[in-house]
Each structure stands twice: as structure tokens, then as C-alpha cells.
Symmetry: C2
Subunit: 394 residues, 2 copies
């Protein structure tokens, strides 16, 4: 199939391009290259060095023996977007072109505005462009498990049947996101659901857990094919941060008590799931929601897993709790469904400790790069709009 | 109290300024004066002639013996917004500054983008400005009953307790809006709920039914104090359109079978409710939702009421069904709660036929103005993104 990846230069976009190519799909990409700027703005850099987009494209061509059509531009530029879709005529569009950080969206008015502008308005443009240019294209939109928040109920996949005052209906599961970023994803989900209903578009909305990992299988080995790995408070996700901290023997920074529970998925599983979604499209007019994660863990359990894996490799790290800069529940029920991807054939890699060891091994090569930016390891972006470094607590 | 009305030049904003002044509040206003442009863009004009904003302000001062602080500007201009709040230091902000039309938001990409940009991003700015300038200010945000859509359940006021797989929680009632405009209001509601939770702001989110009416009690009589009354497909709401059609003996344009049920509220009741909300603020950190309407009616029942009221005044009009340009359910359950405003003291005017007769009487003066723009009476904005005038059906 012809697959357009919006956000092809990102953490997920670049490995997905390779993974899909290996499965026989023809890949094109668009990107405004903003992720590189955001991480620089945070005073950080990818732990694993990545090449320029031009070198990436040249490396891809050398490795896979085919060209990858790339257009640099922004979803907010509607003319650019329509022209890109018209040029490539994709069977599927994977939408990874959103600003993906909760803390970044909470910094101040400017960052909050930027986040919802980029994500909500850009995604709205994408819906219109699909309708106008290629209405039969399957939209795979990346949402997040964070859209649901942490209700005191099990979390179904997007919709649930409920009874209220003796009447029944199947309704969207209520969303209780925890940052302006997470809400931007909820707004997108709602706009996408609506576009499918009124225009007959087809879309899969992926509520993805927190992704971790430094590589996928068969990533080719060429430096241009590596994906980025961030460890700053905005763009570094939990396990990725912990692994970067471990290889420089920095205490693992657990926010609050660490009793928060989230769904996690290895990068290689994420690729597998997105490919399954692409290869098993919905019907026209269908809007379907898949929860995409392997397992749930508390943050403190994850930190312990990283600590143990590091210890096996001869690295000794301590776990340190810090004041939680976020507003979130310290302890809560968390039991989300994830049946639909399994029904499509998703087979989890499963070995989280093995994955962490691969990560620690990969990252130890780049220890100096992490040390150079170690000032980004302690969070200071508070949900109340202030900036104060979190202090250690016990 | 000091009340800032954002959108003071609009259908609700201008009478609210007068109503609140009569109740002893000090009113200020901001407006970008866009409503006038939108109606012009639709090839229409207010049936009731309105004055320029300067003449309105002069008339207000003459009538009430006090000045009304007015600043022209847009919520998207964050600097302007912060300065306006800092200057007036309001106890309450009534947010009427959104683009209020479902069909306008469905015209094409440009209008859809404009709607969500203006509404979602403007309202997000307002939340930040309140947090930064006057965090104890009570935000009264105008949502719409249309946020809920038409689920097969009773509709509570914002939240409901549900049981799912044996567990219970109180959660936001799922929203199923019917246009990009209505979704923009949902997005706003979500952002507002979140701002109250993390920053401790206080807000009342009004899920208002369809407003109708040409005047409020004691509107002063001066031409500068009149409010606008639109009858085009975008800015004319159901009863207002029917009354304008009736006075020129144009068939009443019922979309589809007319079995759609909605909540309706007279303009004078809307003013009463908003005043009650202002005068009974929530606690800090509280986000509360009020459903604000008097009664529910089917569209065909409303058309019949207008037909009968017109007949009593010697005007004979027929009711004509037209192809429904919208995507909405033809017949459905509809039983929304509206207890919370009644508990605060809301007393409905109740006499809808009396209200319609007042409207017909007011509007008969401006028959020529309606006839001049009668080409706007047949809708042509379709929910599928096309423009085709609806044909009559039986």
C-alpha cells in the first residue's frame, strides 16, 4: 500500500518508514522538522545522534534501493497539505505530526497555544484535505491513552454501552485528559469521529501507551536509519529517561510516589501494531478506536526494572523520588482494555527486561552526549504554570 | 459586581449589558465586531436595524447615566486580552465572543478552520489571561445544548454517575456534537474544566438551548439599545427565522420532517439566567455545568406555534418542509435536565405564544428589510461540504 507518514522525521515516524518498507509498502513523508527545534529549545539533544533529514533520505535510498518521497511543510499550511496528498495519493495516512509533550504544553500561554494550534488546527486541516483530495484514504491518527485519564472504571476501547436511568446507548467513553497536550488529542479524536460520521471518511484512532526503546528489528544498521531518543523532561518518556539516567549513573527520577499506573509499549511493538492497523483498514465511514499498549506498570515498578537490568550489566543506580511537577492522581484504579489489536494479530515482544537491556547497551555508547545535557534530567515545568526544579523527597 | 462581557456587540451581549446594568452591576465590554461582518458575508442583515458600536455606547450612556468601558479587539490577541482584564479587573467575565453558527462552520475548510481557531484558541487564551491577571474572576462560558447531541439517554447537567463492569464513578457526560462549531464548544468545555482543576479557576459552563426573541423587558426604547435579529441560514435560529418568514408571508422553512427536538429559551429568560449565574458564583476551583433552556419542542411544533400566532394577528403562512441540509437524527429521544438554574431561582417567562406575538409585532415594522434579503431564507450549506439550495419536500 502507499502510506504517507506525517511527522516522518520523529521518534516513531522514521522507524515506521523503514518497518513499512520492509513489509512491502511504499512510503512517503511530510514533516516540518519541528521536533528537532523543540528539543533544542529544551536545552537538550537526542541521546542517539541522528542525521539531517537529507542524510536520512539518502541512507534510506541506499539501504532499501528505492526513493522516499519527502516534502517539508506544516499541516497548518493547507495548500501544501492538499498538494502533498494529491501528489502521493496515499492509501493510508499515518498522522504522527503532532507536538507530543504534556509538559511542553503546560509551560506558559505561548506553548499551550502553540500546542493546541499545531495539533487541533493541523489535524482539522488534515481531515478537510482527506475529504477534498482522497476521501477513501484510511487515516491512522495517533491519540494517547492519556486521553482517558484515570477514571475509577475500566477503560474500554473508545466506546462503551451504558445504562442510565433505565435507558441504554453506546457512547464515546468520557475523556479526562491531564494536560493541554492531552486535551488537544481529545479534541482531535472528537473532530475525527465527527468527520467519519458526516463525510464517510474512515479512520483508526490509536490510543497509544508510553513508547520506549532505542531500535526496531532489522533497522539496517546505517547511522542515517537510527531514530532519535530524548531524555529531557518534555520529550523523554519514562523508560527512555530512566535508561539514559542509568547509563550515566544518575538517580532515576520518579515523579511523586511513583504509584501512577500507565500503559507502556516497546517501539518495536508500536511499529507492529501500526502496520496491522494499516493492513486491516476499517470500512468507509467507520471510526474505530484501538488501545495500543503491551502492559501497565506503576512508575516505581518501571524504575525498579531499569535498576535491576542496569545492575545485571554492572551499573549501579539509585531510585530517587522527586516532587511531582504534574497534577495527577498518586494512586488510582487502572484497567484499560486492549483486545482489538490482539484480535488483528498483535504479538507483544513481551520481554521488557530484555528490551531495557538492549536500550542500556545502545545508550551506553552515547554516555557523553547525555552527560553533556544532564541539567535537563530534573523537571522544572509545573502544572501551575511556574518553573521550579523539583526537589528530592522520600 | 464588575462584569466584563466578551462579545458585547452580539445578539446576547448587548441586551445583557443593559440587563446587568439595571440590576446594579458595572459592565464593560470587548468585541472584535465580527458578527456584523459574518452576517454581511452571508448576504444578509439584521432584521431589526442596529446602531454602530459608538452610537450604542453613546445611547447606553444617555440612558443609564454612566459610561460603559469598551475595548475593540480579539481574544486571539493575547496582549490585548490581558490588558483589557488588567484594566477592568472584572469579578465575572461572560464569554459570548465565539462564532455561534453551525452552518457557517460547515461551509468549507476555511470557515471550519476559522471557527475552531476563533473559538477554541480564543477561549484558551481567555483561560490563560484569567489565570495570569485575575485568577479569582468567575468565568461564565457560553456552551450549547448541542454539545450533547441526541443520545438515547436522558441528558444530565454536565456530569453523571455511572456504573460500568461493577465499578462506579462520576464522569463528564459524553458529548456528540453535530457540527465543527458545536465541537469547538465541546473543546472549550474540556479546556475550561481542566483549567479549573489544575489552576483552581472557577467557571460556570452554560449549555444553552436555542434563544429566540426580539427584546428584553425594559430595554429602554432607544434605537441604540435594540439588539440584532438575524434570519439567514447561519445566524438566524429557528424561531427567529420563522417569525421573520411569517411577517413577509414566506413559507416557514422546516428542515427535514421537523421531528428534531431541541431546547429553547426566550432572550429575556437567557438574560435572567446569566444574571443568576453571575450573582451566585461557584467556589474557587469549581467547574459547574448548567443546562439553560425553558422547554423542549419539535421543530414542527414550533412552526405550528408561529403559524397560529401569526394567524391570530391576521397573517397567513404555510409550513413547508425542505430537504435537511444538516446531518442529524430525524426522530430521537430527548430529555435533558434543567434543575440547577431553577434551584438558583430561574422563573421562566413561560408564555411562548405571547413571546412570538411580541416578536411578530416587532418584526412587522421591518418587513421591507427582510424582503430585501429574502434570498437568504432557503438554506444551501450542506453538511457534506457542498452548496445546493434545499428543495421543498412533503
Amino acid at each position: 500500500m502507499k502510506v504517507l507518514i506525517a511527522g516522518i522525521d520523529g521518534y516513531l515516524g522514521w522507524p515506521l518508514a523503514q518497518y513499512l518498507t520492509q513489509r512491502g509498502h511504499v512510503v512517503a513523508g511530510i514533516d516540518a522538522l519541528l521536533r528537532r527545534q523543540w528539543v533544542t529549545e529544551m536545552g537538550s539533544d537526542s541521546a542517539i545522534p541522528i542525521c539531517s533529514i537529507n542524510d536520512r533520505l539518502a541512507g534510506y535510498e541506499k539501504c532499501f534501493g528505492q526513493e522516499l518521497l519527502f516534502r517539508e511543510g506544516n499541516l497548518l499550511d493547507y495548500k501544501f497539505l492538499k498538494e502533498s496528498l494529491a501528489e502521493f495519493q496515499p492509501d493510508a495516512i499515518v498522522h504522527f505530526a503532532e507536538m507530543p509533550s504534556a509538559p511542553y504544553s503546560m509551560i506558559d500561554q505561548e506553548h499551550s497555544f502553540f500546542t493546541q494550534q499545531n495539533n487541533v488546527m493541523g489535524s482539522l486541516n488534515l481531515l478537510w484535505a482527506i475529504k477534498e483530495v482522497c476521501p477513501e484514504t484510511h487515516l491512522i491518527k495517533l491519540g494517547t491513552m492519556g486521553e482517558y485519564g484515570t477514571p475509577n472504571l475500566d477503560i474500554p476501547e473508545g466506546f462503551f454501552e451504558i445504562e442510565f436511568r433505565g435507558r441504554k446507548d453506546v457512547l464515546p467513553f468520557p475523556r479526562q485528559a491531564g494536560s493541554f497536550y492531552h486535551w488537544s488529542k481529545v479534541h482531535d479524536s472528537n473532530n475525527t469521529m465527527f468527520a467519519c460520521r458526516i463525510w464517510g471518511l474512515k479512520a483508526t484512532d490509536i490510543m497509544q501507551g508510553v513508547v520506549f526503546g532505542t531500535r526496531i528489528d532489522n533497522d539496517g544498521g546505517d547511522p542515517s536509519l537510527r531514530t532519535r531518543l530524548d531524555f529531557d523532561q518534555c520529550f523523554g518518556t519514562a523508560i527512555n529517561r530512566f535508561c539514559c539516567q542509568a547509563v550515566i549513573e544518575h538517580p532515576l527520577t520518579v515523579y511523586g510516589g511513583g504509584g501512577q499506573i500507565r500503559g507502556f509499549i516497546p517501539l518495536r511493538d508500536s511499529m507492529q501494531c501500526v502496520a496491522l492497523v494499516i493492513e486491516n483498514p476499517p470500512s468507509m465511514g467507520e471510526y474505530r478506536v484501538f488501545n495500543q499498549f503491551d502492559r501497565t506498570y506503576t512508575i516505581e515498578a518501571l524504575a525498579s526494572l531499569v535498576q535491576v537490568a542496569a545492575s545485571d550489566l554492572g551499573i549501579n543506580v539509585v531510585i530517587q523520588n522527586y516532587e511531582n511537577p504534574r497534577t495527577e492522581m498518586a494512586k488510582h484504579h487502572y484497567n484499560p482494555d486492549r483486545n482489538r489489536l490482539v484480535e488483528l494479530g498483535y504479538k507483544p515482544f513481551g520481554n521488557i527486561v530484555g528490551e531495557i537491556k538492549i536500550m542500556l547497551d545502545d545508550l551506553s555508547t552515547w554516555r557523553e552526549r547525555i552527560i553533556k545535557h544532564k541539567q535537563v534530567l530534573i523537571p522544572d515545568i509545573r502544572w501551575d504554570g511556574s518553573r521550579r526544579p523539583s526537589r528530592g523527597i522520600n
